[in-house]
Symmetry: C2
Subunit: 302 residues, 2 copies
């Protein structure tokens, strides 16, 4: 089995590739990098861009941290272990254009010693999901078909399992709406008789590498569309729902806040401008209402 | 002991007084009212105003709900009881002016049957706290002195105890900063040999009735000040911290989301426009830095 150092190295390379590609896509924005160290052990490379031609705010963060788990997290993981190692790449991009979707991607690896065995307890997790301010069905189909292709190269069961998982995970329970059109999500994925660690690791890298061509296509399809001031207001309202999801439900955000992570790196996912309007109801038959009607679990996009 | 129906009636009257007073203060905004019923029992009167002369968005909500506690809340309360009753008035006001502070006030009463006694388990809770975008020390002293005067009319121990409680409660742990300059906060306040239920109830009404003159004075002191575009941006950034507190820590918000409360009523506390800028650092010696330096626990304002 590949070592944690190699996993972290490959994830770093993926971060580099994605940052270079997003700068080229935007045409103007440059990532600012901050290297940080964690008090308990490890650190990261936070890369954030702001005020690009189309990418208004976003981050592509790499971290590899280790140390002791806080009591609350140990309890959640059902372990007494005192050490952990976690590495991953996390991305959120908020475009300045209401017709261009928000995107999120994460690939991660976690391990901790197993008191009862020589091998550590380990797993991979990850996901990618799309949050269009306005849902365009042809874009949603393109996005899901791309994800299915990546999944199918590794395991025919991945896409249907992980698509359903994303529907359940990226769900704003108190609004009874999904965050966007979903994508795939998986956690605690471990080797089995039919699935090797290498396959899981290669899958996680392939997922990381599908991010750039997929998002570039979606940005380029929509960045030149015209939009109204009302449509921009709707974008800001959709961003407030994104903030609600991340602050109330997102497991990565909670883990970061509870493990004393670097706050500005964790909360780079929050939108540049968000608006909460009281009890906003879209007009019957409007594009806004059509979008709300597609923020449901269980839609088959492929 | 006064009945829960009487408590709810008096709280409704306080809601009416405050709404009339805030409309007069603003000079233009009118509250929209929505009456709602809760599936499990009870309901409320949500009153929200938007786009006033100085009050950009805010709510003055009354509710009186009863029914069954969800399992998670029962566990938190350490009870097996299947019934609860809760009534209260909750206010949040977001002004459109960076020199005018955000304010929050809540008074509430809770009861549930006690399996081992004829009398129910009951308590009062409440609080009022101020979140200036820019802290003006004379305003902070005025605010805290007003609260101390109300407290001292009922019990000399209230202000020091409840002021410290507010510092601890209105604290954004992951930012290591208080939400604003605090105020008072108390919960599960019950009668003792030295403190009657009537005194606690009268205190809660007096607190409700200090809201209007206190906030009116603070609005009128500051509403005519000029401000720059940069100062407005800072206001939006402070509002994003307010949203973080409410979504991550606020017990009332969590209770509402978990008990299937009316979402738009609960989340009326969220700001009309908020901005998250990456890693914003105020200039040394600026008014923004001075404000951050005052967002600490334990400052004695009286």
């Amino acid at each position: 089995m590949i070592t944690r150092e190699q996993i972290a190295e490959d994830y770093k390379t993926i971060q580099d590739e994605i940052c270079a590609g997003l700068e080229a896509l935007d045409g103007s924005a440059k990532f600012e990098e901050e290297l940080w160290e964690r008090d308990g052990g490890g650190g990261g490379r936070t890369r954030v861009l702001q005020n690009g031609n189309v990418l208004e705010k976003g981050g592509v963060n790499f971290s590899a941290v280790h140390g002791q788990l806080p009591a609350a997290v140990k309890k959640a993981f059902g372990t007494d272990s005192d050490d952990f190692f976690a590495t991953g790449v996390s991305i959120v991009m908020h475009p300045n254009h209401p017709m261009v979707p928000i995107i999120h991607m994460n690939i991660r690896y976690f391990e901790m010693p197993d008191a009862n065995a020589a091998e550590p307890i380990r797993w991979f997790g990850g996901g990618i999901d799309l949050t269009p301010h306005y849902v365009f069905e042809e874009d949603a189909r393109f996005f899901h078909n791309n994800l299915k292709s990546v999944c199918d190269r590794f395991d025919g069961s991945f896409y249907p399992r992980f698509k359903t998982w994303a529907d359940d995970y990226f769900f704003i329970k108190h609004r009874e709406e999904t965050r966007g059109i979903g994508g795939i999500f998986y956690d605690r994925l471990k080797a089995t008789e039919d699935l090797s660690w290498d396959t899981i690791f290669e899958f996680s890298k392939a997922l990381g590498r599908t991010f750039l061509p997929t998002y570039s296509e979606l940005v380029n399809r929509n960045r030149s569309k015209s939009f109204t001031e009302q449509e921009q207001q709707w974008q800001y309202l959709r961003r407030s729902r994104y903030a609600e999801f991340n602050l109330v439900y997102d497991a990565g955000t909670k883990f970061g806040l509870e493990t004393n992570g670097r706050i500005e790196s964790i909360l780079m996912s929050l939108p540049p401008t968000a608006k909460w309007l009281y009890n906003f109801q879209p007009e019957a038959g409007s594009r806004e209402e059509q979008t709300l009607n597609l923020l449901k679990k269980g839609i088959d996009w492929v």
